[in-house]
């Protein structure tokens, strides 16, 4: 009831006379396996937001940067994106806030080599062709990995390929390695016997995912931000507690082998927690690295876009 009032109040503020106007919440979703998929399937968001007098609209995206284009044009309110896109978004002064860490992402990205490849470590990549999608979280992983092994990126041939195109290149041996995220990673490992030579864990550099919100929206409807995180928490817990059922659900939805899904779920454990100092520090390092690589035009202070207040409140309430 408290929430309802504030929603109406805000609507009245922004929409003037049209005080009966319903708020539509645009939630971004990517075509990947994540608790939000289960929540969407089960209608949890619709259910909860309905109570708060808001409507949910799902918007599907193919890649991280598109989220920020959508936020900039006020067409998107919530989303979950990888660590590199948020940096780019921050550099471009897109008005958004990171409201929670959605995963630590230690195994969500990996550098793969095909079955039977002689490449064993990052150092072996010297002089080899590596496919990666520029600006993706895997891109961050690759450069972090090279840095941690003190391999100069110019010593290998980095080929910029989107996953669709990288996959045939990788399978036919046109490239020697592939820095890629889930579910491609598990698919290759399980179906084609590819091998992981590095991931966030081995390189000690995770590629976390973040829940983000459009700043203006958060200012206007703080209670809906909490609600979003609440439902996310519910979904995250459900998935973590019912892994098998979840795997079944996702496998059906995405027409994929359950085996692959289980692996994906294992590799990218979902979370819903405040962005702590460890994460911040890792993120800052990535930002600095990207700056060095001229991917970013300025040095960023990554803590500036973090707002843990909502998640902290939600978690308190949830317990």
């Amino acid at each position: 009831s408290n929430q309802e009032k504030s929603v109406k109040g805000n609507a009245a503020d922004t929409e003037g006379k049209k005080n009966q106007q319903e708020v539509t919440v645009n939630i971004g979703i990517q075509q990947s396996i994540w608790p939000i998929l289960a929540a969407k399937e089960k209608g949890w968001f619709e259910e909860e937001f309905e109570k708060a007098g808001a409507k949910v609209k799902w918007v599907e995206f193919q890649s991280g940067p598109a989220y920020f284009e959508a936020i900039a044009s006020n067409r998107l309110d919530f989303g979950r994106v990888g660590n590199i896109p948020v940096l780019v978004g921050q550099a471009a002064d897109i008005p958004f806030k990171e409201i929670a860490a959605a995963s630590i992402g230690e195994k969500g990205d990996a550098i793969l080599v095909p079955k039977g490849s002689k490449i064993k470590s990052i150092k072996d990549l010297k002089g080899k062709k590596v496919a990666v999608a520029k600006g993706s979280s895997s891109y961050g992983l690759l450069y972090n990995a090279l840095k941690s092994e003190k391999v100069n990126p110019s010593e290998l041939e980095i080929i910029q390929l989107q996953p669709d195109e990288a996959q045939p290149a990788f399978e036919t041996g046109s490239v020697d390695a592939w820095a890629i995220w889930e579910p491609f990673q598990s698919t290759q490992v399980i179906k084609n016997g590819a091998r992981v030579i590095a991931n966030g864990e081995t390189v000690h550099s995770s590629s976390p995912g973040y829940q983000i919100v459009r700043t203006k929206f958060a200012e206007e409807h703080p209670e809906l931000v909490e609600l979003y995180l609440k439902v996310t928490e519910k979904a995250t817990r459900w998935q973590n507690e019912n892994e098998d059922e979840a795997a079944e659900l996702y496998a059906r939805l995405k027409k994929t082998d359950k085996e692959v899904i289980i692996s994906v779920l294992k590799n990218s454990k979902p979370d819903n927690m405040p962005i702590d100092n460890d994460l911040l520090q890792a993120q800052q390092e990535t930002a600095d690295l990207l700056y060095e690589l001229k991917g970013l035009n300025e040095k960023l202070d990554v803590s500036k876009v973090v707002d843990n207040s909502y998640i902290e409140k939600v978690l308190k309430e949830y317990k």
Binding site: N26, G28, Q31, S32, K57, W58, V59, E60, F61, Q62, A66, E69, A70, A72, S73, R75, L76, P163, D164, Q167, P168, E171, T172, P183, F184, T187, K191, N192, K254, K255, T256, V260
Partner: protein, 290 residues
């Protein structure tokens, strides 16, 4: 010629009878001809499918790269029975149709306007020509900004693509009208309306129909980019979604759907063409009578 020679021997009466006889047979003949033409059209696709299946069965090609036709067919049936394919196809056809209608309509309108007057050509055509070579993918974010994620921006993106072929074709079709007939229209004092309906449109019709065919193709292709924009249904989305999970067989189902629907709409326009252009006295292919 042997038929004719037989006729001579038997005299004129026989020739006429022969003619009657062959006329009674025409229904069967045309049916037979149609079937033959259909079969000829299938030779190449069937050949390609055959080789593909053969290679897929006997060589070791990963399923995530190039599934066999059989596997694709299996997925196809699956998608049909779950009703999913139809759901995707329905929305895609709707989008393509609306986008095409809008784009082609405007394209025809502007093509006629610009074709009609060289002054409006000078003002508008350079801008249109510039817009023509701006890629869908590059303007998609602007469409999202202006029109949001709803159907509107998808339809408009498709319309943007469909606009140009018909615009250019209508424009040049009109400019190709014989000035001799224009003089007739001027002497008969055609109103602007009659000038367009009685002279320009019929004369430019071959080109306009060609423009429609090309526009239909572009509209249909535009789906892929349009359905990248915050969509969760449609054939374009289906392909992209299947990609994410390496369901290459579904990707191929999508590709085949694209090809078949494209070909099918194209054939529709060509039927229309045959009707609308029956007044033409033009070349029909060297060996058309055989």
């Amino acid at each position: 010629m042997s038929k004719a020679r037989a006729a001579i021997v038997a005299g004129p009466q026989a020739a006429i009878k022969k003619a009657r006889y062959s006329q009674n047979n025409t229904v069967w003949n045309t049916l037979f001809k149609r079937i033959l033409i259909g079969i000829r059209g299938l030779i190449l696709p069937v050949l390609i499918l055959g080789i593909w299946q053969f290679v897929g069965s006997f060589y070791d090609v990963s399923d995530t790269l190039l599934p066999t036709p059989a596997a694709i067919f299996h997925s196809f049936l699956d998608l049909i029975f779950t009703g999913e394919l139809w759901a995707h196809l329905k929305i895609s056809i709707w989008r393509a149709a609306v986008g095409f209608g809008l784009g082609a309509g405007l394209g025809l309108l502007f093509g006629v306007i610009v074709g009609f007057s060289s002054r409006s050509e000078q003002v508008m055509d350079p801008t249109f020509q510039m817009l023509r070579t701006i890629p869908h993918l590059a303007v998609a974010p602007l469409f999202i900004l202006w029109f949001g994620f709803g159907e509107l921006s998808k339809v408009l993106l498709i319309a943007k693509g469909a606009f140009f072929p018909i615009y250019v074709n209508a424009f040049l079709g009109i400019r190709g009208v014989d000035s001799k007939l224009f003089e007739v229209a001027r002497v008969l004092e055609f109103s602007r309306f009659h000038l367009i309906t009685k002279l320009i449109l019929p004369a430019a019709m071959p080109n306009i129909l060609l423009g429609i065919r090309l526009s239909l193709g572009v509209a249909w292709l535009g789906l892929v980019v349009a359905e990248l924009m915050g969509s969760s249904e449609g054939i374009g989305y289906m392909i992209m979604d299947a990609r994410q999970f390496s369901n290459t067989d579904i990707v191929f189902v999508g590709i085949i759907i694209f090809a078949v629907v494209g070909k099918w709409t194209d054939s529709l326009v060509r039927v229309l063409e045959a009707k609308l252009l029956k007044w033409r006295d033009n070349f029909n292919g060297d060996d058309s009578s055989r």
